[in-house]
Each structure stands twice: as C-alpha cells, then as structure tokens.
C-alpha cells in the first residue's frame, strides 16, 4: 500500500469556475435521501484497525440501540418520506436482505433504490486484501440482485472504511458512484485506474448520526439545519444545479422524540418548485450523460 499526502482522486475545480449543471425539467437542486439500513452484529470477528463496539462484548446497549432501527424506527422514517413522495436511496448492509427481507420488500415496492454499504456495518475493509474487498463488492451485487432485482450503482463503504485501492475496485466492478467523498456539493469525476466513477455529494453534516451523536444536535435543531441547508443550496442552484443529500439512520431519526421535526423539514423541501426529488442512481446517470466529460476536462488545468 502506498501512503500519500493527497488521495489523488479528484482535481481542484473551484465552485465558481465550473460548467453549469441543469437538472431535469430545469430543476435547480437535486435532493436525495439516503437511509442507511444497517445490521450490526452481536458478536462480530475482530478487525485489526477498529473495534466494533465500545464496551466489551456483548455490548447489549449499543447493539440493541442499532437494532431499534429495524424493529421500530424504519417505519416512522418511511412514513415521513412517503408523506412527501420522497423515494429513498438505501445505503444497504446487504446482509439485511437475509436478516430482514420484510423491510427490504417495503423499500423495493416503493421504488426505492438500493446501493451497497458492505455486508455488515461491523465488518470493515481495513486490513483486507484487494481480493477480499473485491469479494464484498461481488457479494453485494449478487445479493441485492437476488433479493430486489436491482443492479446496484452506488457504494458507501461499510462504516466508511476505505483502502487506497477501493475506488479502483469499484470502477472495475461497474459501480457508478461513490458516497465516500465529501469534497463537494456537486457530483464530480473520480480518478480511477480503469473505467469511470463519480462521487455524489452525501454530506456528513446532514447525516443524522453526525448531527445527533457527534455534533449532539437537538432534534428540532436538526430539522432547522436541514431547512437552512436546503434554502442555501436551492438559492445557489439558480447559478448551477446543486445536490443535497440527507443521509439517515432509522435507529436515530426514527425515534418518537426526533421524527416530527425531521418530517417537517422534508415538507419544507417538498413544497418548493424546481426541486428534483431523485435517487442516487438518477443523479449519477444524468451527470454521466451531460456533464461527466465537461467536468473531467475542466479540471485539467490543475491536477489530474
């Protein structure tokens, strides 16, 4: 593995000097909601780089806290999205297909997209060989196809664990977009050894796990941050189309003390004109068709 100061994944392309993006039907902002539908194992094998649970096994509190999402939280999250006609792009620990196909079925029949978030959120790619990591990509593609009929287009590494070759592997396997890069509010080409890959804005700040747990944001304030993030990106979208992502975790947003302000924030977004309520795949494909080549060329002045 080479260690470099720069990830060498993208060119410097400043926000104010880019080709203009227009979303379908003249929309100025593409909004996508990405529920992380996850399974955290009770007794996972150890990884050399990361402990799955803070407490010694069994960490019944942390395990059950995550399990809340699959028993009680997902239905509230889904209802808030249904109410405004937002389809999810599911960041899926693909073992969920085996554990809780009932949840997968509910998502699938709503036309939600599935993309891979690894096998389990307690299996990290740290320490894996390329072949091992390739194995989870293949497993993801096959599992999601078998259970949903969909061919995954997107990738968010399990628990955001990456290796320096991960993006190359994804492109090689035909994955179309990654959610692991946070450097932009618009899709961007990712430099890979072969094939093509783009990044789609995913957002740490809008992610409920970062908002509620890392930033310790009160639920009503989280609703407010979503509205303000939207208002700002909506205004900027007049110049060039922006992307807003709301990454979610049903084990967090799905709680009764949190769901209402979140539902209201979605209503705020949905009542605007010029908003494209899209899925990750739809955003990626529109970008590939219209902007990939332009954007790839535009960064050549700086670094490739």
């Amino acid at each position: 593995m080479t260690i470099d100061a720069d990830p060498q994944l993208y060119s410097f392309l400043p926000y104010n000097r880019r080709p203009k993006i227009t979303w379908p039907n003249g929309a100025r902002i593409a909004v996508w909601v990405a529920p992380n539908i996850e399974f955290y194992e009770f007794d996972p094998p150890p990884n050399p780089k990361r402990k799955p649970w803070a407490r010694p096994l069994p960490d019944v509190l942390a395990y059950s806290h995550r399990d809340y999402g699959n028993r009680a939280g997902w239905q509230r999250m889904m209802e808030a999205m249904d109410a405004v006609g937002i389809r999810g792009s599911v960041s899926l620990n693909v073992a969920m297909c085996e554990h809780h196909p009932e949840i997968i079925e509910e998502c699938n029949k709503r036309g939600w997209e599935f993309y891979s978030h690894g096998i389990y959120n307690t299996r990290y790619t740290y320490g894996m060989s390329m072949d091992q990591e390739r194995e989870i990509v293949v497993d993801s593609i096959e599992t999601v196809r078998k259970w949903t009929g969909q061919t995954i287009a997107g990738w968010l590494s399990p628990a955001l664990s990456n290796n320096v070759w991960t993006m190359d592997l994804l492109a090689e396997a035909g994955i179309r977009y990654t959610c692991d890069l946070f450097h932009d509010d618009q899709p961007m080409p990712v430099a890979v050894k072969s094939g093509k890959l783009i990044s789609i804005p995913y957002s740490l700040e809008m992610n409920d796990v970062i908002a509620y747990l890392t930033n310790q944001c009160p639920p009503r304030h989280y609703g407010e941050t979503i509205k303000r993030q939207f208002d700002q990106l909506y205004a900027e979208g007049e110049r060039s189309g922006t992307v807003m992502c709301i990454p979610l975790h049903p084990y967090l947003v799905g709680h009764p003390h949190r769901i209402q302000p979140f539902a209201e924030a979605l209503q705020h977004i949905a009542k605007h004109d010029g908003v494209w309520l899209a899925t990750g795949r739809e955003i990626a494909e529109h970008f590939y068709s219209h902007y990939y080549d332009q954007m790839s060329g535009a960064g050549a002045e700086v670094k490739s």
Partner: protein
C-alpha cells in the same frame, strides 16, 4: 496483507436476528394492545436512585455518571449522592402532586445505606426495581457465572427485604450485561428487564429458564443522555419529552397502546431548577386524558395477559 478467512465468513447471516434471545418483529405489524380505560399511553414514571462508591473502579469500563477525578472524588460522589438525600424528594413531591404511580430503579446498596428512603418509597406504593448492587458493580463477561449470580442474588435479596416482596423488574447498572445476565436474572425470579433499547413496546426474551419480558425504557431520550451526554438544555429535554409523548399518543390511535417511560435520575432531575422543567412536562402530560399511569409490573402484566390471549 489480508484478514483471516473467518472475517469473510458470516455464520449468522440468516433470517431474523444473529442471536437467539428474541425474534424479530415490526412494531407496526403486531396485535394491538388496549390499555385499561381505553388509554393510548401507559405512562411509566421511572425515577432512578444510584450510589457511586468513592472507590469505584472502571471494570470493565466506567459506569455512565461514574467518578472521574483523582481519589477522593468528593465532587462527583456527593453530587450523585445528592439525588438520594435531596433530589428524590422533589421528584416524589411532584409524583404526589400529580397522583402518579411510579417504579423506582434502585441500586441495592441504597437499601442498606438509606433504609428510611426505601420505607418512604414503599409507603408511597412505588414499585422497587432492582438496579444492580451499585454503580461500581457492572455486569459483564469478565465475571464468572457464579460471581454474577451472587451479585444478582445479593441485589435482589437486599431490595426484596426492603420492599417486603419479591423483586420482579431489573435494570443493570449502565445497562450492561454479560452473555449470561438474562439467564441469571430469570433464575432469580426477575420477570422483566429494561437493559435492551431496541423497541417502544415489550417483547419476550428467551433465557435458560422462564422468558424475561424486555420493557422499553427510553435510552437516548432519557434525562441523563439528553442533559449530560448530549449537553442539551432543559428546554430541549422538555421539547423532546413533549415530542416523544405527542408522537406516541398519535400513533397509539392507529396501532394500539404505547408505553412512555420517563427516566428521572434523582441526581439530575432532582436539582431545583430542573424540577421546574419536570413539573412542566408532567403538566403537559396531565393535559391529555387517555393516559394510564402504571408501574412496570402492572404494564408488564397487562401486556403479557393480552399478548398471551
């Protein structure tokens, strides 16, 4: 470099859970529960009494709220003990004022140290729920089964003597368990346990003896999490408590009775200014008529009666 082959194998990748303690089910797909009197919400007021020994250890981790300063940490020891001397009485006054039944989670050491406090609770017909021995004795997999059994037995015996009746409910200190805790609890007559945070309603957990009912005790919306871990203001505790109640109250109409626990650490919510927020929360809840205020034992018994029928 690569990981051992086991890392790429998933022996528990199967339908349902990856352990055998309980079955998966979806909250909104279960039979309706109808609380007595047509109530939508079973309000379960749950004050918590804790004792943090001055010489407590971090075995295997520091219990939430544990002492963090060099010995002797009078600062945190006394701040926590305040709840047992003063804070709890503010909470009890409010229970009296709103005529609320309650279940109090009690570290067994408190029964020995402050027997008059236990008599006070018992006289008020408040259910005593075991909360382990004290905050320095966590249940974890480093204990032998014998050691943990002794801890459970001792805790339950001390509290049962004070309560004048067997203890039926359990909350582990720090909600921490070993692989065997549930089996040991069942063997000592515990009927419901509040450690697992994965549901808004009760569900049965398998043990080596009788099933133990998992009771839904708020985790991320409890007073200690909101005020001490997340460092939100009391206004925000109040807002989250109201929002939680509102959502559950509304859902109950569609899906059947819900449970609203109200964890109140005496050393946190018993502080004078915080008690004023607690009064506001209780005032708000009192403005709703379809509320059944009950103890954990009553809620568990009613749930089991209907679930079995």
């Amino acid at each position: 470099m690569s990981l051992p082959p086991e890392y790429m194998q998933y022996p528990m990748r199967r339908h349902g859970m990856d352990q055998d303690r309980y079955q998966w089910s979806s909250l909104t797909e279960r039979p309706r529960i109808e609380w007595p009197g047509g109530a939508r919400i079973a309000l379960w007021v749950t004050p918590i009494l804790q004792w943090f020994p001055l010489n407590m250890t971090s075995t295997p981790f520091l219990a939430p709220g544990g002492l963090t300063m060099p010995y002797p940490d009078y600062r945190h020891y006394t701040n926590r003990d305040y709840g047992n001397r003063v804070g709890i009485f503010r909470v009890l006054d409010l229970l009296e004022r709103y005529k609320l039944a309650a279940s109090t989670f009690v570290n067994a050491a408190i029964a020995e140290r402050y027997p008059s406090l236990l008599r006070e609770l018992v006289d008020r017909k408040i259910e005593i729920v075991a909360h382990g021995l004290d905050m320095g004795h966590l249940h974890h997999s480093g204990l032998s089964q014998e050691q943990e059994s002794e801890l459970v037995k001792r805790s339950c015996d001390m509290l049962a003597r004070a309560a004048g009746e067997p203890i039926k409910g359990w909350l582990s200190p720090g909600r921490s368990q070993s692989w065997s805790t549930l089996d040991i609890l069942a063997a000592h007559g515990i009927e419901y346990c509040c450690d697992w945070a994965n549901d808004d309603m009760p569900y049965e957990m398998r043990t080596s003896g009788e099933d133990v009912l998992s009771m839904p005790l708020a985790h991320e919306s409890d007073d200690r999490m909101i005020l001490q871990e997340f460092r939100h203001t009391e206004d925000q505790w109040l807002a989250q408590t109201k929002d939680r109640f509102e959502v559950l109250y509304r859902e109950a109409e569609r899906h059947g009775g819900r449970i609203m626990s109200l964890p109140l650490h005496a050393w946190i919510m018993g502080v004078p200014y915080r008690a004023t927020y607690l009064r506001e929360a209780l005032d708000y809840i009192a403005g709703h008529d379809k509320v059944w205020v009950a103890t954990g034992q009553q809620i568990a018994a009613e749930f089991r009666r209907q679930a079995a029928g």
